[in-house]
């Protein structure tokens, strides 16, 4: 059997087809989910992809968080459904309080698109087991509102519990506190990050690196062996 991984398209989602392709390349079956869907079509995991959901004219992700598909998603994520939020997806996960903290505008006030170096801090989440802890990878980053913030108590707690999943290395592209690029929930099934692993899955395309593929192979292995 293979795993069925849902990819939600909100109006304004941009990387939905790319994410579906990455899932396919990893060997799983992508399933298109629509923001108005009231159920998740029995998928085994969900990716919330990048883009500007509903235009993001309010806070990024603030409206998407209230769309119909989020109701079953929030319930099932709390019950253990693996969910990965990439960029806008990460923003939506924080707005939905599945992950703590919030995303503000980049400190330099510009959109930034670059090949970003990251360190994998936690290789035990549902989405990171094919990495090793401490591994350095390059993943494209592209965002306007990528500055991760939370209060000190939350940040200390995240650090203490090993829930900082990814950290920016060499260069902090947006002013994120403690160089945080991505985090996980306590159970390790919900992960959010600003960089785009789905853009680093083919050696010919983009930056030419495939450092993002392990996100999708990690979850596939977990689901298939489960």
């Amino acid at each position: 059997m293979t795993a069925r991984i849902g990819v939600v398209t909100f109006p304004g989602s941009l990387d939905d087809r790319d994410t579906q392709r990455a899932i396919r390349i990893a060997g799983a079956e992508p399933v298109a989910l629509w923001h108005k869907d009231k159920d998740l079509k029995q998928v085994d995991a969900v990716v919330l992809c990048g883009g500007f959901s509903y235009g993001d004219y309010l806070r990024a992700g603030a409206i998407a968080r209230f769309s119909p598909v989020m109701e079953p998603l929030i319930d099932q994520a709390r019950a253990g459904l693996p969910v990965l939020g990439i960029c806008n997806g990460f923003q939506i996960l924080t707005e939905a309080h599945l992950l703590p903290g919030a995303m503000l505008g980049n400190d330099h006030l510009h959109f930034i698109c670059r090949d970003q170096k990251l360190r994998v801090e936690n290789a035990e989440t549902s989405w990171t087991t094919d990495y090793s802890a401490g591994q350095e990878i390059h993943i494209p980053l592209k965002n306007m509102d990528g500055r991760y913030v939370a209060d000190d108590y939350t940040l200390d707690q995240l650090e203490a519990e090993g829930r900082v999943a990814f950290r920016y290395v060499d260069f902090n592209p947006n002013g994120s506190l403690r160089d945080i690029a991505g985090i996980t929930n306590e159970a390790g099934n919900v992960v959010g990050l600003m960089p785009h692993p789905e853009h680093a899955v083919e050696s010919l395309i983009g930056t030419g690196r495939t450092d993002g593929l392990p996100f999708f192979t990690s979850i596939l292995k977990k689901l298939v062996t489960a």
């Binding site: 990387d15 392709r21 698109c113």
Partner: protein, 752 residues
């Protein structure tokens, strides 16, 4: 302009003496008289609004038309051309059943008045042209020109333009893969913001702007119509800036990229279900353009009820509704039994869609408002029979003196140290410096098909995941060359874009252009324009790359001062397998650097003459298009057969600029030897056309040399990829760190 009673056709006929504000709407007296003659009566206010925008320079090409005809008359035979000039965008066959549509347009004037929105809506407009052909947009490119990099107003205009392009394009999910950024004082009050887009479709999906089939419904969908951009085309884009006039800000449109993204998806879904008979986007001249063009290109007439147009502002008059350039709107012609499904798809995407009229048996375009007929015209007279001017043109009296001021006579560096300093100064100059600060504000990765993006010689997009089929696009233009000789300058722009496509391994297929010039009312400018068009048409004929469409932007001048004539040329190419693409960056130490082509003492219009001497004079580099074609064939063969690992075209800045870029991008240095017959200065700074550098793996050297020899292309081994310096043997050495600092710090320090 709304008045009582309603200015219907009947009312107009009964009140022949009413004076209409034709001059305020940008019409000339003889043009107004012609409208009266066509109609056999005075126009209604609504008709006048339509004629005034559609007969504007921007929409009617009235000054340029007589010259642009050459693109058709001199069109080369090409099997690749599926749709040519005259539609929203040209369409080219790229094989395997795929067709590609591409076009470049200008949004110059609005971007000076309001940089963010001007540039943003420029992207929006070109993308709608691409969708209107039936294609999914896959990439955008942005050729930009600004005033002096250190001028205070550049710091207002450039960041706004860049943020606007990014803010809009990033939100649409279109990778930005190419373009240019050029600084020159001549663009100070007239920045050039050109925007290009590429779309991909299957052959059978091509759609045209045509309203056929009586009874078919005309559906307006997308954003509501508001008061923004009223008269944008006629007033803003067709007149010279003049400080004495009131602010033109209200004539600039405001963009909503989210709405456009929905429009893309919902249009493509309607295409996929074959619901659309004809389609037109609403850009310049808004509904006036969409209705008159759809009706005049189809077989019948059209009847429209303007009351049904969804409005943002209920107080708009019918004239304003017809002239509004509110963004993110499209007009589709749909068979009656498919209307319901079309509206369902729009509803799925939360896009407002309204039937506003239908195709009729007749040949009139009739528009109604509050029950009265306010427009009754032959749509062809609005859309196609605008005035055509044979503007006088004359070679400017200063041209001879300019050409006589030979750059070859400028003092050259006397010592190796001076040469070294000039190299550093060149690669740090705003035009030659890295544009990473700008391009990193654009998403290059979205859609997951970007093979190459700036600063590569051409942007490249994978079209088919299975076969690896891809397309490449490059845009180039050098206003300094064109100022010295517009005919040659236009051909150099073509040659450079053609070469840039070939250096990445793609075969050049077709051309689009954006012709940016000053006021056509100045005979000197008109001469530049005529010469540039003649040069481009001749060049395209010789290279076998037809012009598929494009755009003319005139009146780029402030007072008496026109910009440099700036023909920007986009060349589209195809590559069978993107795995064979060739990047700019040096890949491996030990590979041999070859210089292809002939290097002559050519410094007229060069970056060196500008950076070191602030000089513009003499003649631009000679053009040899047969040589360009041969060079391209060699580059394509070498890339396909794995004989080269990197390649870079030589253009502004000459060889040293190219070597430095390849070295910095690859993080690998180069050791160069000045070949016999050349001096170091000429080798480094000459801008002779028809040249490229390539890096050849040692194992391929014999094969590569044999190929060049057999085909008669001069190929000179000039060095080797090596170390972490750029060394010119016997002259100087620069470390990559020094070069990187010089090359990458300039733009952020001026603009960040």
């Amino acid at each position: 302009m709304s008045r009582t009673p309603l200015d219907t056709v009947e009312h107009a006929a009964a009140t022949p003496d009413v004076e209409l504000p034709w001059a305020e709407l940008g019409l000339k007296k003889d043009e107004y008289e012609r409208v009266v003659e066509i109609l056999g009566r005075r126009p209604t206010g609504a008709e006048l609004a339509m004629y005034s925008v559609m007969w504007s320079e921007h929409c009617s090409y009235k000054s340029s038309k007589v010259h642009l005809r050459q693109f058709g008359e001199k069109a080369p035979q090409s099997d690749a051309l599926l749709v040519g000039i005259g539609e929203n965008a040209g369409v080219v066959d790229v094989g395997q059943g795929y067709a590609v549509t591409f076009k470049v347009e200008s949004h110059n004037h609005p971007s000076y008045v309001e940089p963010y929105q001007g540039a943003a809506t420029g992207v929006g407009g070109i993308v709608r042209d691409i969708i209107a052909m039936g294609a999914r947009p896959v990439a955008v490119v942005d050729p930009l020109r600004f005033g002096a990099a250190d001028h205070p107003d550049t710091k207002r205009v450039l960041p706004g333009v860049v943020a606007g392009i990014g803010g809009y394009g990033n939100c649409l999910g279109l990778p930005n893969i190419g373009g240019e950024v050029v600084f020159d004082a001549c663009y100070q009050g007239n920045p050039l913001v050109n925007a290009g887009a590429i779309g991909v479709m299957r052959h059978e999906d091509i759609h045209l702007a045509k309203a056929s089939g009586a009874g078919n419904k005309v559906i307006l969908y997308g954003a509501r119509t508001g008061g923004d951009g009223i008269g944008g085309a006629s007033i803003l884009a067709s007149e010279t800036f003049d400080d004495a006039k009131p602010s033109k800000r209200p004539a600039v449109q405001v963009g909503d990229p989210f709405q456009e993204k929905l429009l893309i998806e919902c249009t493509l879904e309607a295409f996929a279900e074959k619901l659309v008979v004809g389609i037109q986007d609403l850009g310049a001249a808004g509904l006036s353009c969409a209705t008159s063009e759809l009706a005049s290109n189809g077989s019948g007439g059209m009847r429209v009820t303007l009351d049904d147009v969804p409005l943002r502002d209920s107080t708009l008059s019918p004239e304003e509704i017809l002239m509004s350039e509110s963004q993110e709107r499209m007009c589709a012609v749909v068979e009656p039994d498919k209307v319901e499904r079309f509206l369902e798809i729009c509803d799925k995407w939360d896009v407002i869609a309204t039937v506003i009229g239908e195709v009729t048996d007749g040949d009139r375009l009739e528009i109604f408002w509050h029950g009265g007929k306010i427009v009754d015209v032959d749509p062809r007279t609005v859309a196609h029979d605008g005035p055509v001017y044979e503007r006088p043109y004359a070679r400017p009296d200063w041209q001879d003196a300019l050409q006589a001021d030979d750059a070859g006579k400028l003092p050259r560096p006397a010592t190796s140290e001076e040469l070294r300093d000039q190299v550093l100064k060149l690669v740090a100059s705003p035009n030659q410096a890295s544009k990473k600060w700008i391009t990193s504000q654009y998403d290059h990765f979205v859609q997951g098909n970007t093979v190459l993006a700036q600063p590569e010689d051409s942007g490249m997009i994978r079209v088919d995941e299975e076969s690896g089929l891809g397309v490449a696009i490059a845009t180039d233009g050098n206003g300094r060359y064109a100022k010295l000789d517009p005919y040659t300058g236009a051909q150099l722009a073509l040659a450079e874009a053609y070469r840039n496509v070939a250096t990445t391994g793609a075969k050049p297929l077709a051309v689009s252009d954006c012709l940016n010039f000053g006021s056509p009312e100045d005979p000197a400018v008109m001469w530049q324009f005529a010469e540039a068009v003649r040069g481009l048409a001749d060049g395209c004929l010789q290279l076998g790359t037809p012009v598929t469409g494009g755009n003319v932007s005139l009146y780029n001048q402030t007072g008496e001062a026109a910009i440099h004539p700036t023909p920007v040329v986009a060349v589209l190419g195809v590559i069978d397998d993107v795995a064979r693409r060739t990047p700019v960056a040096f890949q491996e130490e030990g590979q041999l650097i070859y210089l292809l082509g002939d290097t002559r003492e050519e410094f007229g219009g060069s970056a060196w003459s500008q950076v070191v001497h602030d000089h513009l004079g003499g003649l631009p580099p000679r053009v040899d298009l047969e040589r360009e074609r041969l060079l391209a064939e060699i580059l394509i063969s070498a890339s396909r057969d794995g004989m080269i690992d990197s390649a870079h075209d030589l253009s502004d800045g000459g060889l040293v600029q190219a070597v430095v870029e390849s070295a910095l991008l690859g993080g690998k240095g180069a050791r160069l030897i000045v070949p016999d017959g050349l001096d170091a200065f000429t080798l480094l700074f000459s801008e002779s056309a028809g040249r490229a550098i390539v890096a050849v793996p040692r194992s391929e050297e014999v094969r590569f040399n044999d190929m060049c020899g057999a085909r008669g292309l001069p190929a000179t081994r000039i060095g080797v990829v090596d170390g972490d310096t750029v060394e010119i043997q016997g002259e100087f050495t620069l470390t990559l760190a020094e070069l990187r600092e010089a090359h990458e710090n300039t733009i952020p320090s001026l603009l960040a």
